[in-house]
């Protein structure tokens, strides 16, 4: 079946199999930031934006995003660098495999709720698993980023 979508701002028209998952389509198009961690919608590693809303690309058929705008971390490099630097400054990226999914969801959170409390951060990102960091360093990084943004007076 033929689909048309906007991947990181570029139009893509392609024949795809009806059972193709969005994650496989994205990786086939060079979006290697999208990681598969579990195949069961449990780990959050494959998070991408569909129409600016975070979704799990391992659990969505590419056919369902026909005509839609898809964003992966490849399309958010500047934001990833800005925010990621604060995770890096805690050493909380560790193996890094879960980072793209975490950063996608964190960016979604910053857009939805520019001043989240600790509790709100933890709740919002609860679906993003990490086996290395123990989560505390990620929380420190997120809070440091939010304080930095606040000091600059800007909204994330």
């Amino acid at each position: 079946m033929q689909i048309k979508l906007w991947l990181n701002g570029k139009m893509v028209t392609e024949d795809v199999a009806a059972d193709m998952l969005l994650i496989d389509f994205l990786r086939a198009h060079g979006c290697f930031s999208v990681k598969r961690g579990c195949e069961t919608a449990n780990c959050g590693l494959c998070t991408v934006f569909v129409e600016d809303k975070p979704v799990l690309s391992c659990s969505m058929l590419v056919a369902r995003v026909d005509g839609k705008k898809i964003t992966t971390l490849e399309g958010l490099q500047e934001e990833a660098e800005d925010f990621g630097a604060f995770i890096a400054d805690q050493g909380a990226e560790q193996c890094g495999f879960c980072n793209p999914g975490l950063i996608m969801n964190a960016i979604a959170m910053f857009r939805e709720n520019p001043n989240p409390t600790d509790e709100e951060i933890i709740q919002y990102l609860a679906g993003n698993l990490c086996r290395c960091s123990g989560y505390e360093g990620q929380l420190r990084g997120i809070k440091a980023f939010l304080s930095f943004k606040k000091e600059k007076g800007g909204v994330c």
Binding site: S33, T40, C95, A126, R131, Y135
Partner: protein, 764 residues
């Protein structure tokens, strides 16, 4: 502590920005997608013989390149355990065997052009199995009439007490002093049996390997591994080809925790590529990673403590039964730590100890290396037993530890007679007490809202590399403009060893951190390193880096001496320059680098290997505060205080995150993580749906500090940190749950159901 410039600082990891921006750096990102897709057909039975296997129809599926069965593989047995040769783990595997030993064991290898073709072919392979009776309960495995490995070609390279005709992977008994005599004199004896289950390492990146033939007709294996040199040997054994025909490299690794110290996926695509000459890739699904890999050894540990009524621990008797599953990866070596690390913690007044163990084969998934490597299991048992002793004596569990904990300078008979050369365990306890306000907190308090708040404590030790075995090496090279290239074969699996080792090099060479580039883990070009495991990288490879840098400095001084026409004794190395001691003349690093490339005969590259005769333990204290819900049995983590002595902390950020990550894994082990089997040996927890690892909602607040000692045999005084940090949560949480409910839970994980049933049983 010495005044360090680069070491002991929170330096950002070299690869951090690539990782946080999602750059393609992992195996499946950097290898081509148009290679053969390889998949393994897994056994549906715990114990069976393949009577007939027909692959003819499956081979006809368009796009299928090859299908291999036990008839096609070499008959030479090997072990997948990544250990130094001769491996203590028995040679009990074939690439594919006619006898299947667990649900998940390999039946066939299928390689094809697309995943769909391979999946279709997998369904079309016809197998007639003769289903055999399995051994599923490890308590009945020894001398069972059913043998997991009856084959004559089974072989143990090391004398570890293995006997395949008794389902024994290893057995031993060691004794020091008159155990029974001292025990008879003791005022109080605590004796209990503890049961720890298999746990999945559950690193986020599953097992995966890409293989191709290089232009020289050699097999190039690119994969997510902690052990490039061991992989080379294991593949040569498995494929029965010369080691010179194999090259192993690794890109970024998405977590290891010991899982990738075993050759879980490498063998299958390597065999396909060797046979077909074509590039191949195998990526294990999460389900395969949960059912056909090598999780932590399940252990049952009996602890007997003999003590005076004042709480002086005089004698310890430990027996461990370890379940290695269907194959013996790491079976003979993990078990030792369950006794050595737990008994040695209580060295202070210890007059005698006994430590015995059996490691048995069963028809469940093979066990392997996982952070803590047996110490975790033993420390859960020992620390729980000590808490039970404190309770029995009505003593503060902290005070009983202060009386008995091993002290700096003591010889530890239960730890290869090593001297405890650097130990701040006492200071760790003092600091943890302060941070936690232990003395002012009751062991439990009923909050009146259906919840009980309670506290628990535990301590731990580990080691720093395997003494007399592990080898770490480093090559340091001066390049033009005066920057340095550090080549290592220790594998950074996210822990930051590339960064930590570069910090050490920068400290030694008195240069900026950015002046060091790091590359490595290539079996062709890197200097030999046993690999990243056994908490060895910082301690063993770090020392190699330090030594290599010192030698390179001498070489650079030699070149400077020639250029300045003076002796090297008259020169002083100052990082960016080398000056005459009297300050009259100097020469820049860049000049030396330039000179090294023109008419020079002095090599500006040094390789040093290091091995340590000792393995100085890091130490740690953990204190936990929890809330137990009396209505549901749920345990909520409120606060975890951890104070660690890992000698000099090389990177303060990375050490802290290592600690927090280890605590989270320990919390998972204590409360949720479990591997259970149905009556025919199939694993229930085959996905993250069923196998629950902690989320950020589950870990509570963790507070980490360091009480550094200075280990004179380590680089800049450092010891290890990687493994010890997983050891305290299980016993500390079990202790807190006892304080809340009055019930000792001696089997992990302590799920809400178990807590609830304990409360109900107590009430009745």
């Amino acid at each position: 502590m010495a005044d360090f410039k680069v070491v002991n600082k929170p330096i950002r990891k070299i690869d951090a920005m690539a990782l946080v921006t999602g750059k393609p750096v992992y195996t499946d990102d950097v290898t081509p997608s148009d290679c053969l897709v390889v998949k393994v057909m897994h056994s549906p039975y715990a114990h069976a013989m393949i009577n007939e296997i027909d692959t003819e129809i499956a081979k006809k599926v368009p796009g299928i390149e090859a299908i291999y069965t036990y008839k096609d593989v070499p008959g030479r047995r090997f072990t997948m355990a990544g250990q130094t040769y001769p491996e203590p783990s028995p040679y009990d595997r074939l690439i594919l065997d006619q006898r299947l030993r667990f649900v998940g064991d390999g039946v066939a290898i299928v390689a094809g052009e697309t995943e769909k073709a391979v999946d279709k072919a997998l369904k079309l392979i016809k197998v007639k199995y003769e289903v055999l009776e399995p051994v599923l309960d490890f308590r009945t495995a020894k001398d069972n009439k059913v043998l997991v490995h009856p084959e004559e070609s089974w072989e143990a390279l090391c004398p570890v007490g293995a006997d395949n005709k008794r389902n024994l992977c290893a057995t031993d008994l060691s004794e020091h002093g008159d155990v029974d005599g001292v025990m008879a004199e003791c005022d109080v004896i605590v004796e209990n049996t503890y049961h720890t289950k298999a746990n999945q390492q559950a690193m986020m990146e599953t097992f995966r390997t890409y293989t191709t033939m290089d232009p020289y007709g050699r097999l190039h294996v690119i994969g997510s591994t902690q052990i490039v040199f061991h992989v080379r040997r294991i593949l040569a054994n498995a494929l029965d080809i010369p080691k010179s025909k194999i090259r192993v490299t690794k890109p970024r690794i998405g977590g290891g925790f010991g899982a990738k110290q075993t050759c879980v996926t490498e063998i299958f695509p390597a065999f396909v590529t060797w046979k077909t000459g074509k590039a191949a890739k195998l990526i294990y699904t999460r389900e395969e990673s949960q059912t056909a890999s090598t999780p932590r050894h399940e252990m049952e540990i009996k602890v007997r403590i003999g003590a005076t009524k004042e709480g002086i621990i005089r004698v310890l008797d430990v027996y461990t039964l370890s379940n290695t599953g269907s194959y013996g990866e790491h079976g003979p070596t993990t078990v030792g730590l369950s006794g050595q690390k737990s008994i040695s913690l209580y060295n202070n007044n210890l007059e005698a100890y006994r430590f015995g163990y059996d490691v048995v084969y069963t028809n469940v998934q093979s066990a392997g290396a996982y952070r803590g490597y047996g110490a975790t299991q033993g420390i859960f048992a020992m620390e729980s037993a000590v808490n039970e002793l404190a309770s029995k004596l009505n003593m503060d569990p902290v005070i009983i530890r202060e009386k008995n904990m091993v002290k700096e300078g003591q010889v530890m008979p239960s730890y290869h007679d090593e001297t405890n050369s650097s130990c701040a365990l006492d200071r760790c306890m003092t600091r943890a007490k302060e941070m936690f306000d232990w003395d002012n907190k009751p062991l439990a308090v009923d909050l009146g809202n259906g919840k009980i708040r309670s506290v628990g404590v535990a301590m731990a030790m580990q080691s720093s590399g395997i003494s007399g075995v592990d080898v770490g090496s480093a090559t340091i090279k001066l390049n033009d403009e005066g920057f340095y290239a550090l080549s290592i074969a220790a594998a950074d699996m996210g822990t930051g060893c590339d960064t930590i080792l570069a910090q050490m090099a920068a400290e030694c060479l008195e240069c900026d951190f950015d002046d060091i580039i790091v590359y490595g883990a290539d079996s062709d070009s890197s200097p030999y390193d046993s690999g990243s495991y056994a908490s060895s990288t910082t301690y063993v490879t770090g020392k190699a880096v330090e030594k290599a840098c010192l030698q390179l400095k001498e070489k650079m001084c030699k070149i400077a001496g020639e250029m300045l026409s003076c002796s090297t004794e008259d020169l002083v190395f100052q990082g960016k320059k080398i000056s005459k001691v009297d300050g009259s003349e100097e020469i820049t690093l860049m000049d030396i680098a330039t000179k090294s490339m023109c008419g020079n005969t002095e090599a500006t590259q040094v390789t040093v290997s290091h091995s340590s005769k000792v393995s100085p333990p890091p130490f740690m204290v953990g204190m936990v505060e929890i809330e137990v819900d009396k209505e549901t049995g749920a345990t909520t983590l409120l606060d975890y205080v951890a104070v660690v002595d890992c000698g000099t902390v090389i990177n303060t950020n990375l050490a802290r995150v290592q600690t927090e990550g280890g605590l989270a894994q320990g919390i998972g082990m204590a409360l949720y993580e479990d591997v259970t089997y149905n009556s025919v040996g199939r694993i229930y927890e085959n996905s993250f749906m069923q196998y629950k690892i902690p989320t950020r909602l589950d870990v509570g607040k963790m507070r980490v500090e360091f009480e550094s000692s200075y280990e004179h045999t380590g680089p800049f005084g450092a010891k290890s940190i990687g493994e010890i940090v997983i050891n305290t949560p299980s016993p500390a949480i079990a202790h807190a749950i006892y304080n809340a409910t009055g019930v000792w839970h001696r089997e992990l994980p302590i799920t809400p159901e178990k807590v609830m049933m304990g409360i109900l049983k107590n009430e009745n």
